[in-house]
């Protein structure tokens, strides 16, 4: 065994081995390598997570924060949460918001990727550069930028829409109604999310066998048919990962709605992450906030099931 220098990496059957010094090192090495990361993860994640569960069973307000000690109240916080009509309204609104955002992101991103294949090289280069710039914008910068473009006094969006004859948008306030304000939030999020999807799908498209597409076309298959039967199967795993990631990101999205809509504390504008913020840090109710956070984490885990399964599968084969 000691002559097999590569054994550590190869798949070893788990049978009893003679515990030589060398094989012990080989056994212990990976654990020694992940140990520092594990220690840090335990300190900054495992402990807070355990603490999150504990807090959710306590009354923990500002007074308790100063005294560093909460009082145990059992499932009381969960009771408050589940009996709060705003929670249910917000959950429903967030689910609709997530579906709209994810659908737009994936569909538009894929279309941009396909368009990149169709256009001339110069145009492709232009689109790609624009994508990279949009992708690189820090979220806070993007929010300020869209807020400026959509402000009712001299926002350029109102000017352009009016000039294009879509309607009279002079002094139009995009933030006056929840639907319209969340629409602007969606536009901002989708604009920021398309680049990642488009560039990844574009990379995936290059793996579609060209002769297969040509053969299908020669056999008389239309463009849609070729996409469905040749292109889509190749893209499917990529789209699955992208969709799952988008669901996770959009369901928990905080910075964009928080900054864009922060002057509107009306609960009609709430998304789950805003609700969570307002119910915890906002009113210094850390117990209730923790219960809300745990419910949200559970929903996220259900939503991300496919993503996790796909990624674990990838991590396991090499």
């Amino acid at each position: 065994m000691s002559t097999n220098v590569d054994a550590a990496g190869a798949a070893l059957p788990l049978r009893r081995r003679r515990l030589t010094r060398r094989s012990f090192i080989r056994f212990a090495a990976p654990y020694a390598l992940i140990a520092p990361a594990i220690v840090v993860i335990a300190a900054i994640l495992a402990y807070p997570l355990y603490y999150l569960v504990r807090l959710s069973l306590q009354r923990y307000g500002l007074f308790q924060l100063i005294a560093h000690k909460g009082s145990y109240v059992g499932l009381h916080n969960y009771g408050i949460l589940l009996h709060d009509p705003v929670f249910w309204q917000t959950l429903l609104r967030t689910i609709i918001f997530t579906i709209v955002n994810v659908t737009l992101t994936i569909v538009l991103g894929t279309l941009v990727a396909i368009l990149c294949v169709k256009v001339a090289k110069v145009v492709r280069l232009m689109i790609m550069s624009a994508l990279v710039f949009a992708w690189a914008m820090p979220v806070v910068v993007a929010v300020q930028l869209w807020y400026w473009m959509t402000n009712y006094q001299n926002g350029v969006v109102n000017y352009i829409l009016t000039k294009l004859g879509i309607g009279d948008f002079t002094q139009h306030d995009w933030y006056a109604s929840p639907a319209s304000a969340l629409g602007v939030t969606t536009t901002l999020i989708v604009w920021g999310a398309i680049p990642f999807v488009a560039i990844t799908v574009y990379a995936g498209l290059s793996q579609v066998p060209r002769d297969l597409v040509e053969a299908a076309s020669v056999d008389g298959a239309g463009a849609l048919r070729v996409f469905r039967d040749v292109t889509f199967p190749v893209l499917k795993p990529i789209l699955l990962v992208l969709t799952s990631l988008s669901i996770i990101w959009d369901f928990a999205v905080f910075t964009q709605p928080f900054l864009l809509l922060q002057s509107r504390p009306n609960t009609d504008y709430y998304l789950m992450s805003i609700y969570l913020f307002e119910k915890s840090i906002g009113i210094h109710e850390y117990g209730l906030g923790s219960a809300t956070a745990l419910v949200m984490v559970l929903i996220m885990l259900m939503l991300s099931f496919f993503y996790v399964r796909q990624m674990v599968r990838l991590g396991d084969v090499r």
Binding site: A29, P36, I41, L45, A136, Q153, A252, F254
Partner: protein, 274 residues
């Protein structure tokens, strides 16, 4: 046929315009005179560009302090994460061990946790040690998302290195560690650079943790500074706001252009074969 391709190109230009316009508008606004900015009829390209908004932005209180804070936080987070993540990634990529699958699941699951769910217990725990309002507290919280991401990405880069190269080095009489230092490290260097740049960008852009933990204006990061930027007392100073936004985005864009090609595939690499 010719007509069809012209149609595609026209559509392509339209899409280019839609995606690029916001960024163009940010730059355009930040170089325009105040009069042109507030006018209802927009000036598309500033013909007499001015740097006055940039001057205003960097002279807004705490710009330099907060830029320095951002730099400190990001540097420490990236340095710590890279060392820890590199060791863990080597273990994941080059060894098979019993706890391997469990660790992979852990790393992936951590990335699912929404930041504002974690912030509550982190806030309470940090408050106990009087670390809210301190950069050290922010550094600790940033590790929660930078470390798992770095482990996962680096693992991808290390797996890509052919095993034959290592073996060849060992046949030449090197130990495993010798082979590692001579062969693996130089090969993995580009991956290490790309991952740390991406970790830099993530940490630089972070907002929630910093916003909740750092309430003292003198001890904030640049994103928090920018989120509270209103400029003059007479209302929002759009020119200065756009100049400030441009300044905040510059380091990110510069780094991004540098590594984006590598990372675009990192997150979903291998998905095709999955």
């Amino acid at each position: 046929m010719k007509l069809a391709s012209m149609g595609w190109n026209a559509l392509g230009l339209l899409v280019f315009g839609l995606i690029a316009f916001p960024v163009f508008w940010m730059l355009s606004t930040s170089f325009k005179s105040g009069k042109d900015i507030i006018s209802y009829t927009p000036t598309w390209i500033p013909l007499q560009p001015t740097l006055v908004h940039f001057h205003d932005a960097i002279h807004t209180p705490y710009f330099w302090t907060d830029a320095k804070n951002s730099l400190i936080v990001v540097t420490v987070v990236v340095a710590l994460s890279m060392v820890l993540a590199f060791l863990a990634a080597v273990a994941l990529a080059k060894f098979r061990f019993t706890a391997r699958k469990g660790f992979i699941v852990l790393v992936i699951l951590i990335q699912m946790l929404p930041a504002n769910a974690l912030i509550i217990p982190l806030y309470v725990v940090l408050a106990r040690y009087h670390q809210t309002g301190q950069l050290t507290g922010v550094i600790a919280t940033y590790m929660t998302f930078v470390l798992p991401f770095s482990i996962w990405t680096l693992r991808g880069f290390i797996i890509g290195i052919p095993r034959d190269l290592e073996e060849a080095a060992m046949v030449d009489g090197n130990t495993r560690i010798g082979a590692f230092l001579k062969i693996l490290l130089p090969l993995v260097m580009p991956g290490l650079v790309a991952t740390s740049v991406f970790a830099f960008i993530q940490a630089w852009n972070e907002f929630i943790f910093a916003y909740i933990l750092l309430t003292d204006a003198q001890k904030q990061t640049l994103t928090v500074w920018l989120s509270g930027f209103y400029g003059t007392s007479r209302g929002t100073d759009w020119g200065a706001l756009m100049a400030a936004s441009t300044l905040t985005a510059i380091p990110v864009v510069a780094f991004f252009l540098f590594v984006q090609r590598r990372i675009a595939f990192g997150l979903t690499a291998g998905a095709v074969k999955g």
